[in-house]
């Protein structure tokens, strides 16, 4: 809007989309133009680079800003907002016992009738891993009987110039570090024999993640590149 109430098109102003990129980073674009501009950068790689370049330059305005340690309650508030256990109504606590009793009885009956399920037999676990941007559709599969971790590629391709690395984050509840399982191969099915040391982390609730790394995998032992997809291991019917 102008001061006389007539909307102005940035196209009529000097600089066109290139000036708008700087205005966007400075937060000067009027709301309607900002929305239109964001739509435009999605399909214009040059413009996206312009925005990134301005962001890089203007961020230098903060170079002289001194570090100030935030008060300790800020981290506490952040972590409790993100990681606090959700409150469960008290009667819900009874539910697992009730269901567990039913399931145990049913399972006992199956074992008795078929004799197929031995004690200690572990379930197969699966995780869907999808990256819409790259059109990548993967299914991760942990097969405990053969101690093999598999990734089936149902859609998308693995580029020749980078590696897609598979990570498992143990379900230890304390935010353990990701552990590398291996790299996705060019084959449709990647099969990785899992060393004994990693078998204990292959549990339901453990998280599988795929990151893009330099050829040959992360040089550091921890993921360094963009994370393409994340999914939790779970049993399937």
């Amino acid at each position: 809007m102008t001061d006389d109430g007539i909307p102005i098109e940035s196209g009529d102003l000097p600089g066109g989309a290139e000036a708008a990129a700087a205005e966007y980073v400075l937060g000067l674009l009027p709301e309607d133009e900002r929305v239109a501009f964001e739509r435009q950068i999605g399909s214009d790689a040059d413009l996206e680079q312009d925005v990134a370049a301005w962001a890089e330059y203007f961020a230098r305005f903060t170079d002289p800003v001194e570090e100030v340690p935030p008060p300790p309650q800020v981290l506490r508030r952040i972590e409790s907002a993100l990681f606090a256990e959700t409150k469960v109504p008290f009667w819900r606590h009874l539910l697992p016992y009730l269901l567990g009793a039913v399931a145990a009885a049913a399972l006992a009956a199956v074992v008795v009738m078929t004799g197929l399920i031995g004690p200690g037999q572990q379930p197969h676990l699966y995780a869907d891993l999808v990256d819409d941007d790259r059109g990548l559709v993967l299914l991760a599969h942990w097969a405990p009987d053969s101690e093999t971790f598999m990734v089936r590629r149902d859609d998308g391709t693995v580029p020749q110039d980078v590696s897609y690395q598979i990570w498992v984050i143990p379900d230890s509840g304390d935010g353990a570090a990701p552990v590398s399982v291996g790299l996705i191969t060019q084959d449709q099915l990647t099969e990785i024999p899992v060393p004994d040391a990693l078998i204990p982390i292959m549990t339901g609730g453990a998280v599988v993640a795929i990151s893009e790394e330099p050829l040959g995998g992360s040089p550091t032992g921890a993921p360094t590149g963009p994370v393409l997809a994340v999914g939790a291991l779970d049993v399937r019917e």
Partner: protein, 182 residues
């Protein structure tokens, strides 16, 4: 690993839900980001609120930090600066902080001699090119970034038509772009 690669690796681990990496990233970058939020908002309570919001966003969006061309610190600073400016504008319109006065437009002119001792190449170029602009325009660019000035505020405080202010500033931004790409 360079400090930049270390922060990038922490962001990648955060994207996978690694809580320890999240805390490391907070300890590593929180003081700078809190400094940035304080610089924009100038009030502890508001800056704390923004820092909290920023780290919730980092946890939820670390996976979107991709090859968008931003260096990791620039991404974190941009997220923080944008959240702080949004909060500042809400505070201004709600009367929590003082509105912009003409004096604010002249405050913080582009840095002078100390710019020559800046080690960072991009910072040096930015300050050098800002000095080629008329001083009031350079102050507007800086004021928009660090103090969230809007065209309407600049126009009202300087008693100039909004469209005129915008035309001037866009010309200056193009001049700046030309100088930076030299």
């Amino acid at each position: 690993m360079t400090p930049q690669e270390e922060i990038e690796a922490l962001i990648a681990r955060v994207a996978m839900g690694d809580r320890r990496a999240f805390r490391l990233l907070y300890n590593r970058t929180g003081p700078k980001l809190f400094g940035v939020a304080l610089r924009v908002l100038k009030q502890d309570a508001l800056a704390e609120e923004v820092l909290q919001e920023v780290f919730l966003r980092i946890w939820n969006r670390a996976g979107q930090y991709r090859a968008n061309g931003y260096s990791p610190m620039t991404w974190l600073i941009t997220v923080t600066r944008n959240a702080a400016i949004d909060r500042l504008r809400r505070a201004r319109s709600g009367g929590e902080v003082a509105p912009v006065e003409e004096a604010d437009l002249l405050a913080d002119p582009a840095p002078g001699p100390e710019a020559q001792t800046i080690a960072n190449e991009e910072a040096r170029r930015l300050h050098m090119c800002l000095r080629e602009l008329p001083p009031d325009r350079a102050a507007m660019v800086r004021g928009a970034y660090l103090d969230g000035l809007t065209y309407a505020e600049i126009a009202a405080a300087s008693d100039t038509k909004l469209n005129t202010v915008r035309t001037w500033l866009r010309r200056s931004l193009m001049q700046l772009r030309e100088c930076l790409s030299r």
